[in-house]
Symmetry: C2
Subunit: 414 residues, 2 copies
Amino acid sequence: MEVIVHKYGGTSVGTPEKIKNVARRVKKTRDAGYEAVVIVSAMGHTTDELIDLMHKVSNNPDPREYDMLVSTGEQVSAALLAMALQGLGCPAVSLTGGQAGVVTEDIYKKARIKEIKLDRLKKELKAGKVVVVTGFQGIDSRGDIITIGRGGSDTSAVAIAAALKAQVCDIYTDVDGVYTTDPRIVPAARKLKYISYEEMLELASLGAQVLHPRSVECASIYDMVIHLRSSQNETEGTYIMSPERISEEGGKMEKKEAVRGIALDENIAKIGILKVPDQPGTAAELFGALAAEKINVDMIVQSIHSAGTQADMAFTVDRPDLKRAVEVTERAARQLRAENVVSDSDVCKVSLVGIGMVSQPGTASKMFAALAEEKINIQMISTSEIKISCVVKAEQGKKAVQVLHKAFGLDKVA
Amino acid sequence: MEVIVHKYGGTSVGTPEKIKNVARRVKKTRDAGYEAVVIVSAMGHTTDELIDLMHKVSNNPDPREYDMLVSTGEQVSAALLAMALQGLGCPAVSLTGGQAGVVTEDIYKKARIKEIKLDRLKKELKAGKVVVVTGFQGIDSRGDIITIGRGGSDTSAVAIAAALKAQVCDIYTDVDGVYTTDPRIVPAARKLKYISYEEMLELASLGAQVLHPRSVECASIYDMVIHLRSSQNETEGTYIMSPERISEEGGKMEKKEAVRGIALDENIAKIGILKVPDQPGTAAELFGALAAEKINVDMIVQSIHSAGTQADMAFTVDRPDLKRAVEVTERAARQLRAENVVSDSDVCKVSLVGIGMVSQPGTASKMFAALAEEKINIQMISTSEIKISCVVKAEQGKKAVQVLHKAFGLDKVA
């Protein structure tokens, strides 16, 4: 029997009524003759509520205990969904990440999945049950509960789908699919029928937060098709797959625009380390120290200072990590004999994404011109083959997205 | 190093502030040079809230999923307490029942603990950590999460204390200790300094709900001293121990009253099965069927019917089990060709308890006389060597306790 993997986010299982809706949807899949595995997030704002509770008890919570605490959210929703399925006459069982064989690295809060031991999962499927698995978590070699980072339920779903060799991983969420940009910022934004892993990865990691970046990375490694769609209706969403598969879809394929989407990331902060004596190993020293503290660094820009023997470096981090990142950077700065460290959390990042950009020169200059025309000052620039990102003042982010969406003709139907 | 086992109930960990208070108390124990293991219940009304949520999703929840769901409550409080301890500079780690090696029978919702595998627990203690263990749960041979019945955290605590060969198991709750009866019913009720396992067992199973009966049973098997005390102050509570140990305490020992305590159980219902043809195996058939459905039967009274060839049987069950119990009894009644089945949930049970009763005749008649004087009609009577129970109308329960407390002089200081 073919296996279908569904994933439902926190909004889709936010109330008992919504959980029953999900159960009806899953049952339909099973009645159509498929085996079904369902990965669930915690209900609604449960995780945030648990974190609030945590902050009332501790100023500096231990990552191990954090995992122990927040992993309960998914366990609640998984058990409730299994019960709801049983209530519809559909045999079901819920499994924790550990019970489902999701083995992670021995790192709290941000571990990667190492392997999926399918024994129990396959046994339950063989017994005719829908298997509901807690997303966002697994178990490590010590038997400890490990979470795999906020939004990690998407990754859980893709990893389990890949291990089970499912044809597609349906990720249900509260949006219809991937849009050219956030429709709340640009009402004329269009839904994309297909998007490549690479493009999605850039969009997701750049703040189009419909899908966890690591889930896309995992999907691309295993060539797993993700169908991102709404849990509120039966409409097709957006298929995320390799460019090869997209080409195979032939006539259905959209015209290849240079720019496929625009993302806004408002959760960043900028750090500058100024007048660093220019010598080999400087960057390695600084970013090694940040990595050791598990601080995610995104854009990195280095320029030669006018004096010629010193460099300025700037980079962005997630805004909640700013305080820790500044501390680490200041320590590194003292060691590197840099002049000083500056930081600014009043910034955001606007990015253009599109595989086609690589073959269409002039995208960058067109972007800079469009922003300049609106008097939007660019603080940092970083480019790759399929994206261009600019850091601008926080309050100008939305305006920048609107301007660029229009300038690159994304509001026109392809 | 000597190990001290503490257990804190839901009220004692009901808010972040209370959790921090518990942490301070535990730290004091550790600073005094003891190893400490702490067993916690779920915060406040968490378990009830989870069960409410469950009823919104399912009319007939699967016991396995029930365990998966409600076990999260203790996991939350254990993680929070570990964080609070760390916040005080006290190394700590939280363990789920499974991680702490609490192995149970393969039965959901009401399993018994089979053994405690101490490896992880001892390793963490050796590493200098306070170990916080989720009460009320363990893991079975299939790796499933198993709960051990409402109030089972007391049992978890005693079992772990016994396995660790602790000197005493401190059970902290929102009352000061064991009283001669419920002080809300009889303001003159006195706190007992010592009480034997047997007496406590009768009081606990009869509705004095300060301690889970199975925890007392477990303590008596392993001769573990339970110190039942308040989490709000440092006052000594009541020691629950064997009569031998109580005697050893010598001068401190209280005068042996015939009646040590009076309990009121308002959570019962009565079922009668009338005119059962009187033949061997009848009782076995009926109570076997009830046991198969995991319905707890308490008092059982059988009398010969006037006709001589038929018997009437009556018994009590927990009030929430009444509907199911009546169904099972009616099925059994048809098979046994009994005349009919009657039930009544408008009843309660008043019990006198005391080891000394066995050597002081006349306690029963004195009880019946005291009740008769207040026009309290007795519907069922059952006696054992250390207790006498009467079922009376629900609305007369409190009055009966007051009358008996006075009649047996329990309000006088011994």
